[in-house]
């Protein structure tokens, strides 16, 4: 079953260095991961392990120092900034740990803005409401981010991430600042999305309670993959 799996993203030999006060710090020391399409992949690890760095590289936000990332058949490391922006716009949705809504836009406007950016054709308002409904927040469409609770904000962020129907959603510690129940609810929404919309989801977490929900789990330890549970 494993070798028949279609992979949305395949990363090989990923290394990433950051200059830290005249020395070089290797955040990633050679990582290979395969992200199966239409499934939930979990990157787990303690804070500082390099999982966010890896997520940013997989999501075309950052470039690796070495290695290559094949996203849906294309090597994104060789793309220029314009193409990467277009790729992020069309095929990728992000959900961040600290809620990253645009503070001056209401819940619905945040989503509409993402649609606008993705050059979404069709009724943006309708689609925004649809997505809000998916996360159960259609009643709070006109609220500003600061008027929503942390969990609600995170759900709006998810709604925004899925609005333009991306192929992959990257979620960086989406439950990090939420209590267990709310966290479970967010993960439940992810599972529903995979089922209903068939998207691929990659999320990082340090919460061991959530691991079993993942279709595939990579443990990142000190810049390397610790083991592969699937194989």
């Amino acid at each position: 079953m494993a070798d028949k799996q279609r992979y949305m993203i395949q990363a090989r030999g990923i290394k990433r260095a950051f200059p830290v006060s005249s020395k070089t710090f290797w955040a990633l020391k050679g990582i290979d991961v395969d992200i199966p399409a239409g499934a939930l992949t979990i990157l787990k690890g303690r804070s500082g392990s390099g999982k966010t760095t890896l997520l940013n590289i997989l999501g075309a936000l950052d470039k690796p120092t070495n290695g290559k990332v094949v996203f849906n058949g294309r090597n994104i490391c060789k793309m220029d900034e314009m193409r990467r922006a277009r790729l992020r716009r069309r095929d990728i949705g992000f959900v961040f740990q600290s809620v990253a809504l645009v503070p001056m836009m209401s819940a619905q406007e945040n989503i509409e803005f993402a649609l606008r950016l993705a050059r979404f054709k069709g009724n943006r308002a309708k689609r925004a409401l649809e997505c809000l409904k998916m996360v159960g927040l259609d009643k709070r469409a006109n609220h500003m981010p600061q008027e929503l609770s942390g969990g609600e904000q995170q759900r709006v962020a998810i709604a925004r991430a899925i609005a333009h129907k991306p192929k992959v959603i990257f979620a960086d510690e989406p439950t990090g600042e939420l209590d267990t129940n709310t966290g479970l609810r967010v993960v439940k929404i992810f599972k529903d999305l995979i089922e209903k919309e068939g998207v691929t989801i990659v999320m990082t977490t340090h919460d061991t309670g959530l691991m079993e929900i993942g279709d595939r789990v990579y443990e990142i330890l000190d810049g390397k993959v610790a083991g592969d549970d699937d194989e």
């Binding site: 936000l61 922006a85 961040f96 001056m104």
Partner: protein, 932 residues
């Protein structure tokens, strides 16, 4: 605590630098105010003193304190002498000389040897302090200091006295009335004739010719003989206090004036004493001008002070905003409010110590710049102002510091109130600034419009008051500043509403970048208001200042050109037979015409014209006679070539009139106010005559509103002492015709110079000619620019603009850097959502357009509106009798272009800096930044 403060400052060095710059500017502007007004007034005082010397040929620094009486009261002479000699100290001025002139009344005297031509003219005995040091002997020798052994006293006389008293060198005279202590009559021998040694010596308060009946002896001898208590003899004493006019300080003017008052009280009450002070009038005029310049400075600088204080207040609030959390933490740990206030107070004191140390020298520099401003944003190197750092500027600087401290500490109160919880709640709540809640913008605008309205209603009265030397009401002048501030704030209130409308109308069609920019401008306004206000104020003030300065400068210059009439206008002194006519009134008055041809052929003359001017012409009109009409008699061709015509004043080219007049010797032009009053029409005949009743008849060929050198209205002082505007009528006639009727009368020579007027000075010097009338137009224009009112206007407007511009640049950069730093996370989100770098730049540029460009356009509009509304008001405040022309609002293209290019390059530079900052941002890092 100090270490804590220093660490705090180091961690936000840029913001503190901005705060410090604002603070230094406030201190230096505050201290430059008295520095400048004192310096400019000091120079004016010196110039006035010099002008007095030039025009009256007498030294202005003199006080003459004279006594006449007997000495029966003990110590009376001594008392007055002490008082007189104490005057320089009282005035606070150095004395060049303190001279005592003692003399007896004239009395009969007998010669020892009677000559054939002896006549017995009464004479006086006198003495003059240090005469021997300041006089030269032109015949004989100087007197000796001692009474000769034969009891004879040696004396010297002036040339006038020599002739007047008809004495010879070596002649002796005995005064029976004046005796020495032994009762022996005094005998004097004339040993010499004195005259002025050095003509520029201010010792000679009175010229030698004044001492026309005095035998001058050494002062000591005179005192021994005549100055003692109990003497019944009448004694005259005059103390000449010759003050160093250039050491008179403008800042002492008021105290000097009170000394003068004190002295004139003595002069009135004490019948033995008369005191005359030469510089009294200069001083009185000076004090009037001083308060005028002082108020003008305050009024013109008011908006700058307001902006500076607002700037300091807002920057400190911005800093506090970033420290709000720390304050809350400190409070939760039990630190008292007083201690927190103490930290901020100490911090503001530290900043102000630096500001004071840097601000005062900068103030001196600013004063120099003020002094060299020639027009708006235009500098010339003039002789440096006599800047003097006295106590007053230091006090002003300290007051500036105090205000800065208040502006820094005041906002702290808001942050010390409440706990960490209320802090967070507050942050989420939108707060309206005070001015919005109190509608300060509407109030300011209302007050200024009301001021304008009431000004327009009482324009004439105000103009009259100013002409009588009164101060214009400073509140009235503040209206323009109020208007700019009010309109600026109102614009900030109204513009977002307009943007909202645009947003709702068009949002669906916009690109994400444009959409995001609009939302940003609409919904995140708190700091943006601040930068918009500054931009609007800067541009509005700049435009207003440029317009005001150039309009007033240009109108002033135009007026001088118009009233002068030509490059050079002069009249030679004409000799006449007036003395004979006085003795024999039946004779005709004949003038002997100087050679006009000299001027026509002189090197440097383009063309010359003869112009006869007489302002005492009567004309018969229906229903009576009109007096005091101004007559211009001209050679049309020469006049057309020579006179300065401002073509914008004539609907038709003035040559048309001149050509028409050339056809008919009797043709005349009338001023249109003459026509309007008495209904003349072209073709009418007008009879006019001079005061000698020589009359002439003219045929009206046309009407003019203006004529070179002609004031359409004059201010005449009525019987009640109030100046009233009254129309001044004009007749322009052919010179030949007028000369036929009135005879040859002294005319003026008008000259159009090729280059400058230097040649005419050379000519006058070489031929030792003095012109009773002489106008050098260019020199008058230069002179006009030295007017302290105009000078401070130009200086303050320029420096004010530079300061505001500096604030604006700092504020602009600070706002944008902060705004971009604060939004790093937001940019990260945008980029994660797939916004390209270019789109982010587009977004920033859109924001710039919505914020900066809109502000600049608004500021320009407000500036233009303010200048056109308030220009007449300012014009009147600076007006003098010499405003003949209508006020034209000069569009100062150079200054305006300069202004906008300075602002434009500032924006470009700032955008480049911002571009670099944004480019350096890494998205991944940006996102991380937001995570912790």
């Amino acid at each position: 605590m100090l270490r804590f403060i220093f660490r705090k400052i180091a961690s936000k060095k840029w913001m503190f630098l901005a705060l410090l710059i604002g603070n230094i500017l406030l201190v230096s502007i505050a201290c430059s105010n008295p520095l400048y007004s004192n310096a400019v007034m000091q120079r004016m005082l010196n110039d006035d003193m010099d002008a007095y010397l030039l025009s009256r040929n007498s030294y202005p620094g003199n006080i003459i304190f004279s006594f006449g009486g007997t000495q029966q009261k003990n110590g009376i002479v001594q008392k007055y002498e002490t008082l007189a000699h104490s005057l320089p100290e009282k005035y606070g001025v150095k004395a060049h000389y303190q001279i005592c002139h003692l003399y007896t009344p004239v009395a009969a005297n007998n010669p020892e040897i009677v000559r054939d031509d002896t006549y017995y003219k009464n004479a006086a005995l006198g003495s003059l302090t240090d005469l021997d040091k300041h006089a030269k002997i032109i015949a004989g020798r100087m007197y000796s200091d001692k009474i000769r052994e034969d009891g004879v006293i040696e004396v010297v006389v002036s040339q006038t006295a020599l002739i007047d008293l008809n004495v010879l060198l070596g002649e002796r005279r005995t005064f029976p009335k004046y005796t020495d202590k032994n009762g022996v009559p005094v005998t004097v021998e004339v040993v010499g004739v004195y005259d002025i040694l050095d003509t520029s010596d201010t010792y000679w308060v009175r010229q030698p010719k004044h001492y026309k009946s005095e035998y001058m002896m050494p002062e000591d001898i005179f005192r021994e003989l005549f100055v003692f208590d109990g003497s019944k003899l009448l004694l005259n004493a005059a103390w000449y206090e010759v003050l160093d006019a250039h050491s008179m300080l403008s800042r002492n003017a008021s105290s000097m004036q009170s000394v003068i008052k004190e002295m004139s009280a003595i002069d009135k009450d004490d019948k033995f004493i008369t005191i005359s002070t030469y510089f009294e009038n200069i001083l009185n005029e000076h004090i009037k001008m001083k308060s005028k310049v002082g108020v003008t400075l305050w009024v013109l600088q008011a908006p700058i002070y307001i902006l500076l204080i607002a700037f300091i207040f807002m920057v400190s609030r911005q800093i506090l905003e970033t420290e709000a959390a720390e304050i809350a933490v400190l409070k939760s740990r039990g630190v008292k409010n007083r201690q927190i206030l103490g930290v901020y107070f100490t911090q503001s004191i530290l900043l102000n110590v630096v500001s004071f140390i840097a601000g005062v020298p900068l103030g001196v520099l600013i004063t120099q710049v003020l002094g060299s401003a020639n027009a708006f944003l235009e500098f010339v190197s003039r002789r440096a102002l006599p800047i003097e750092v006295t106590l007053t500027p230091i006090l002003y600087a300290l007051a500036g510091c105090l205000i800065a401290v208040i502006a820094m500490v005041f906002p702290v109160r808001k942050y010390t109130r409440g706990s960490i919880v209320t802090q967070k709640q507050k942050k989420n709540r939108k707060q309206k600034p005070l001015w919005r809640k109190a509608f300060l913008d509407v109030i300011a605008l209302g007050v200024s419009i009301y001021g304008l309205y009431s000004f327009n209603n009482q324009k004439e009265m105000i103009a009259q008051r100013i002409l009588q030397g009164e101060m214009p009401d400073p509140l009235l002048l503040l209206c323009s500043s109020l208007f700019i501030i009010g309109a600026g704030l109102l614009a900030i209130r109204v513009i977002p509403a307009l943007i909202t409308v645009v947003y709702h109308l068009f949002k669906r069609f916009w690109s994400p970048a444009l959409y995001a920019s609009f939302l940003k401008v609409l919904r995140q306004r708190s700091n943006q208001d601040f930068i918009m206000i500054f931009l609007i104020m800067t541009i509005a003030l700049g435009v207003f200042n440029a317009q005001t300065a150039s309009t007033i400068n240009e109108n002033g210059e135009k007026n001088i050109r118009y009233l002068s009439g030509a490059d050079i206008v002069l009249r030679e002194s004409w000799s006449s037979n007036s003395e004979q006519v006085q003795q024999n009134p039946s004779l005709d008055l004949i003038y002997y015409e100087p050679d006009f041809g000299v001027y026509e052929t002189m090197d440097g003359v383009q063309s010359a014209a003869r112009v006869y001017r007489n302002d005492k012409i009567n004309a018969s009109v229906s229903g009576g006679t009109v007096n005091n009409i101004l007559l211009f008699a001209i050679d049309t061709d020469d006049f057309g070539k020579t006179a300065y015509f401002d073509l914008s004043l004539y609907p038709e080219h003035p040559y048309h009139f001149l050509n028409a007049m050339a056809y008919n010797a009797r043709a005349v032009l009338l001023s249109s106010n003459f026509r309007d009053q008495y209904g003349f029409e072209v073709g009418d005949v007008i009879n006019y005559q001079n005061t000698a009743k020589d009359s002439s008849r003219g045929i009206v060929y046309g009407f003019v509103d203006y004529w070179p050198g002609y004031q359409p209205f004059v201010y005449r002082k009525g019987t009640d002492g109030i100046y009233r505007e009254s129309p001044n009528y004009l007749i322009v006639a052919n010179l030949s015709q007028v000369q036929d009727a009135f005879g040859l009368r002294p005319y003026e020579v008008w000259i159009d110079a090729k280059d400058d007027a230097g040649f005419i000075y050379e000519y006058a010097e070489e031929n030792e000619i003095r012109f009773p009338k002489f106008i050098d137009m260019e020199a008058e224009i230069v002179e006009g620019k030295n007017d302290p009112m105009l000078k401070s206007l130009n200086g303050v407007l320029t420096v004010g603009f530079i300061v505001v511009l500096a604030l604006c640049i700092i504020g602009f950069l600070m706002y944008w850097i902060l705004s971009i730093r604060q939004r790093t996370l937001q940019f990260g989100i945008y980029r994660a959502m797939g916004m390209s770098m270019r789109e982010i730049f587009t977004m920033l540029i859109n924001e710039q357009i919505l914020i900066s460009v809109v502000s600049i356009v608004l500021g320009g509009a407000i500036g233009f509106i303010a200048s056109s509304l308030f220009m007449p008001m300012i014009q009147i405040a600076y007006s003098s009798f010499d405003n003949a022309l209508p006020l034209t609002n000069a569009l100062n293209i150079t200054a305006t272009t300069q202004l906008f290019s300075v602002v434009g390059s500032m924006l470009l530079l700032s955008m480049m800096i911002l571009g670099i900052i944004v480019k350096r941002m890494k998205i991944a890092q940006a996102l991380k930044l937001g995570e912790d």
